[in-house]
């Protein structure tokens, strides 16, 4: 069904960013606009999801060019769900930034860039055109480049170089893949490509193109042999920026993979075994990497990699149950990872360090806040009925059905490693006897902040914690949505019909 309003989440973020630029010098006004804008964006994306749920897939043909000739925007349940999650993370990070981002960074345009990043993410989720997806990816990476370097500290710049180099390389690989795909089929519309690619006789070339897409998206989503940039850069920017990166940036790669490898390239045995092996090694290397780290933000960075493996495993198994598991896990992971990086920011503001060795006694000093932080930490482990459990349950069921015992072993290993790491982190940071840490001059500690800033930081953590409890206890609803998404992914005919109108 044609509906021009589905691009509203994108346009509105652009509007907020431009408004923010007009209030460049007024820091407090910027904070107000950002929070109010994120709230309205959340309402817009909720209404989009409700509309898609009631009336089916919504499409928009840009400029009135009928598909497959123009650029199409498509909102199916998957896109609308991810736009909603983007808005949720965006709101939480925007509120958290009010408390945690230094004024110097605000003066260099932190808030406008944050909203441009969220605009890019929403656009990438909504587009139905493969080249347009590339353009949204570029908008995302250029905004993230600015965010990762803003402030210009030494570690930030070094991390940024690795981040920039790998992301530019990923873009080139992605562009190469698009070029070959266009040469093969003469189309860029994803729904049309789905029909055209099936007709191509040279299956070898199709597989090569698929692998190029896998590499391009693999670098962006940090899967096994391509993830090294992530732990080298995600712990360098301020916590609010790591939160939006950790929550959403790798997930947009996973989204693109789930979309492209269900719609355009339906995995054959070769491709799905490649994806499965990559998933297993991603789970393993992320988990083992996290074991070795001392910096809590690096631990979380490696855990991102580990859990990307779970979502990739769902794609590797390629059944409705497994894909539903991957989607459920994606929902849970966006909320929890955003929250965890904000939690690490809170810990840093209170204690002045990220080092597990130096931290300690947090539970004794801040019992209530520790209980709050326990929610995302234990949701991540997936202790039933918290949110991480259900996604893994579906994944393991899916793997059972395809009798992939090895993959089940790796998923369980990944879960145990996560449990071990979080238990270690809990005992080191929260239960160990506190050490006297020297006060550092350049850090503004939590106690010295104004009450409004304190409340802003706590409010965003509370908001996301309640949400992840909601995902855990209301798993039935989320699971119903995830099953709908998975069924649509397995059988894309509704998507194709909605876009091409035939």
């Amino acid at each position: 069904m044609s509906n021009p309003y589905i691009v509203l989440p994108v346009i509105f973020q652009l509007f907020v960013a431009v408004t923010l630029m007009f209030s460049w010098t007024n820091k407090n006004l910027q904070k107000l606009i950002s929070v109010v804008g994120s709230l309205i964006a959340l309402l817009i994306s909720i209404s989009l999801l409700i509309k898609v749920n009631q009336e089916g897939i919504q499409t928009m043909q840009a400029g009135g060019w009928i598909a497959p000739f123009g650029i199409t925007f498509v909102a199916d349940t998957f896109s609308a769900l991810l736009v909603l999650l983007t808005a949720i993370s965006g709101l939480a990070v925007s509120v958290f930034s009010v408390g945690s981002i230094r004024n110097a960074r605000v003066r260099f345009g932190y808030f406008p860039i944050l909203h441009l990043l969220i605009m890019g993410l929403s656009g990438a989720f909504l587009t139905g055109d493969i080249f347009n997806l590339y353009v949204w990816f570029e908008i995302i990476i250029i905004s993230s480049f600015v965010l990762i370097t803003i402030g210009g500290e030494k570690a930030q710049l070094e991390g940024a170089i690795k981040y920039v180099a790998m992301n530019l390389l990923a873009s080139v690989v992605f562009l190469t893949a698009i070029a070959i795909l266009y040469g093969l089929t003469g189309s860029l519309n994803m729904a049309d490509l789905s029909l055209q690619v099936a007709k191509v006789e040279n299956r070898g070339l199709v597989n090569v193109t698929a692998i190029l897409f896998l590499v391009g998206f693999g670098i962006k989503s940090a899967v096994f042999p391509l993830y090294f940039w992530l732990p080298a850069s995600y712990h360098t920017p301020p916590p609010a920026i790591s939160a939006i990166f950790g929550g959403l940036l790798t997930k947009v790669g996973v989204y693109a993979m789930l979309r492209v490898f269900t719609l355009i390239f339906v995995p054959d045995t070769f491709l799905s075994s490649v994806i499965t092996v990559m998933a297993m090694l991603t789970i393993f290397s992320g988990g083992v990497g996290a074991l070795m780290q001392n910096n809590i933000r690096k631990v979380f960075s490696y855990l991102i990699i580990c859990h990307i493996g779970f979502m990739l495993a769902g794609l590797g198994i390629y059944s409705t149950l497994a894909l539903a598991g991957a989607v459920f896990y994606l929902v849970h992971d966006i909320v929890v990872k955003t929250n965890l990086f904000m939690v690490s920011g809170l810990i840093f503001k209170i204690k002045g360090t990220y080092s597990m060795r130096l931290l300690g006694g947090f539970y004794k000093e801040q019992p209530l806040m520790s209980l709050l932080m326990a929610i995302p930490l234990f949701s991540l482990v997936g202790i039933p009925p918290l949110s991480g459990f259900w996604g893994k349950l579906l994944l393991i069921q899916g793997a059972m059905d395809s009798s992939n015992i090895l993959l089940i072993g790796f998923i369980l290993l990944g879960s145990f490693l996560t449990l071990f790491i979080i238990a270690k982190l809990w005992s080191e940071v929260f239960w160990k006897d506190p050490q006297i840490l020297p006060k550092k001059e350049h850090i503004k500690y939590f106690d010295e902040l104004k009450p409004l800033k304190k409340r802003a930081m706590l409010a965003s953590v509370v908001f996301l914690s309640i949400l992840s409890l909601g995902i855990g206890f209301g798993a039935e609803w989320v699971m119903r949505i995830a099953m709908t998404v998975a069924e649509n992914l397995m059988d894309p005919s509704a998507y194709i019909q909605a876009v091409l109108g035939t």
């Binding site: 562009l175 070029a179 266009y182 910096n295």
Partner: protein, 117 residues
């Protein structure tokens, strides 16, 4: 013409990847630029090269003639050039800043992010 382009694209990709594997920051950026140009030429090549047949519908005709140059790859390349121009400008400023702060051009010397606090 196609064969020449194929060779040039291959050379650009090879040179780009070779430059990226060097340790110097400047060579990293040069490698990325070469790779980007290679990708642009690849789009151009795979869009089927046709000589002197613009995709314009004449005043007395209803549709395009038999052979015409596909305008889509050119639009794609223009977009990609503009995007990569912006990104490369950013990357060049970034390496300049990084050189000033870290005081080295050698990627092997940049290990502050791997250090244990």
């Amino acid at each position: 013409m196609e064969l020449l382009l194929v060779i040039i694209i291959g050379l650009l990709y090879a040179a780009g990847i070779y430059m990226m594997l060097r340790r110097s920051l400047v060579k990293l950026i040069i490698g990325l630029i070469l790779l980007g140009n290679g990708a642009n030429l690849l789009i151009f090549l795979l869009g089927k090269i046709v000589k002197g047949e613009p995709p314009i519908i004449g005043p007395n005709e209803k549709m395009l003639g038999e052979i015409y140059a596909d305008p889509v790859p050119q639009a794609l390349i223009l977009t990609a050039i503009v995007i990569s121009f912006g990104l490369q400008a950013f990357a060049i400023i970034l390496i300049k800043r990084a050189y000033k702060v870290v005081k080295t051009d050698d990627l092997d010397e940049m290990y502050a992010t791997d250090e244990d606090l």
